[in-house]
């Protein structure tokens, strides 16, 4: 579990990510106090939203909004 510290939706991306546009990137504050940069799947999130880590792909954490 974590809380969104900040986020953005990326519309213009480098070649490796062009297929994903638009996609949301967020910095998430984890319960440990550490912050990580990851991707958001599903519904868009805003600052202070709670999120859950659902997967790690190629070292990148993926999060989803939790109710």
């Amino acid at each position: 579990m974590g809380v969104v510290y900040t986020e953005t939706v990326v519309h213009m991306a480098p070649p490796a990510f062009e297929k994903d546009v638009p996609y949301q990137v967020a910095i998430v504050s984890l319960e440990s106090g550490e912050r990580v940069t990851g991707r958001i799947e599903g519904a868009r999130v805003s600052i202070d939203d709670r999120v859950a880590m659902i997967d790690t792909r190629d070292g990148v954490p993926f999060f989803r909004k939790s109710e």
């Binding site: 991306a13 910095i27 940069t37 954490p61």
Partner: protein, 386 residues
């Protein structure tokens, strides 16, 4: 430490120049600078080059002697400095340090970047390599997206509005339209600035600096020798470089740049001045939010007030504290490795009273803030009349 002065300055126009290569741009700026400073190549004791990503953009490495020899400068230390967008600010800092320490009497600094030979997605990728490639960049962050996340948090914490960001773009475009050397000489309205194509929310195309080609050069020497070369030497009254984490997620607070605060604190102390004494400046507006935060970190406005002060005209050409009278990175252009030295050239032009339509009324003390990456490097320089 002995006082140091800038005796010569020269720049190319900034823009997209398909027929020009990196070396020809650097040589043009360098030759203009030698001429402006009444310096011959044989008098240059060290050559420092600021360049971010020449090898990636152009395929050419080993750039410092590649350029110094083309300028007729031989058998001297020729070294490239890389600190992302603060590359040539860092080269300038080290040139000043070399003269101040007495190691050299005269050092030339050139900043250059040739960016437009690559398509925008590839440019985006190269610029992103100034971030933390293992974490934030692997997750899909681009440089605009890092500053977009900074903007989101600044808006959340301080109530900064989209219109505040747009006001910075409108102001810098108005200034750049008066600058014959600027890349995009186009006045824009607030409505246009708000309606730009989305890049990374909440930033649109008008919040982002330009992808440009260009070069800039300066020569520094000991202040007590400066008038042997120039009738209008400009004093380097204060200068400092500072560093911080690359990754945004490692910073305690992304709405402030600790490297900017640290560098400016040292530069103010060295110059013996306060933020209130600074009459005008060139700020690193790689993105509109960066200028707003710079105003706060440099102590020109209270924390959180950068947006409202920008919208109220505080930093306009005829405002209380004019900032980016050149048009800034937004309109003048941002050939990354050239930017730091170009800011020094712009301050020199104002202090010498040679800024034409953009000349500010009070021009005896100016500050340049050159930011690298998302704040991992910063060089702050205070120049003044001597």
């Amino acid at each position: 430490m002995r006082p140091v002065a800038v005796i010569g300055a020269g720049k190319t126009r900034f823009g997209a120049f398909p027929d020009r290569d990196l070396r020809s741009l650097a040589v043009e700026a360098g030759e203009k600078c030698l001429q402006n400073g009444h310096v011959t190549p044989s008098q240059v004791e060290a050559f420092y080059l600021g360049n971010f990503a020449g090898p990636s953009f152009t395929g050419q490495n080993h750039l410092a002697p590649y350029i110094s020899t083309a300028l007729g400068i031989h058998e001297v230390p020729a070294t490239r400095f890389e600190a992302a967008c603060a590359s040539s600010g860092s080269a300038f800092f080290h040139a000043v340090s070399g003269v101040a320490s007495g190691l050299y009497d005269l050092v030339m600094v050139v900043g250059v970047e040739k960016m437009t030979s690559q398509p925008t997605p590839r440019v985006t990728e190269i610029l992103a390599s100034a971030g933390d490639c293992g974490g934030e960049i692997r997750a899909g962050s681009t440089f605009p997206s890092l500053f977009a996340m900074i903007a989101r948090r600044h808006m959340h914490d301080f109530g900064t509005k989209r219109e505040h960001l747009a006001a910075v773009a409108v102001k810098n475009h108005a200034n750049g339209a008066l600058n014959p050397d600027a890349h995009l000489r186009k006045v824009i309205t607030l409505e246009q600035a708000l309606a730009g194509k989305p890049v990374a929310d909440p930033l649109n195309l008008y919040d982002c600096s330009l992808i440009s080609d260009g070069a800039a050069a300066v020569i520094v020497t000991a202040a007590d020798r400066a008038r042997d070369f120039s009738d209008k030497p400009v004093g380097v009254l204060g200068i400092a470089q500072a560093s911080d984490y690359l990754a945004l997620d490692q910073k305690a607070d992304i709405t402030t740049f600790t490297a900017v605060k640290a560098a400016s604190r040292k530069a103010y102390k060295m110059a013996g001045v306060d933020p209130a004494d600074i009459e005008f400046g060139e700020l690193h507006d790689c993105f509109t939010i960066a200028e707003i935060i710079a105003l706060e970190d440099l102590g020109f406005v209270p924390r959180g007030q950068g947006g409202p002060c920008s919208a109220a005209g505080y930093t306009a050409l005829r405002g209380a504290k004019p900032m980016n009278t050149s048009g800034g990175l937004k309109s003048k252009g941002h050939p990354v490795g050239a930017t730091g030295v170009a800011q020094i050239c712009d301050l020199v032009q104002q202090i010498r009273g040679e800024a034409g339509d953009r000349q500010v009324a009070r021009h005896s003390l100016g500050l340049a803030e050159n930011l690298g990456g998302s704040g991992a490097s910063c060089v702050v320089t205070i120049l003044g009349e001597i």
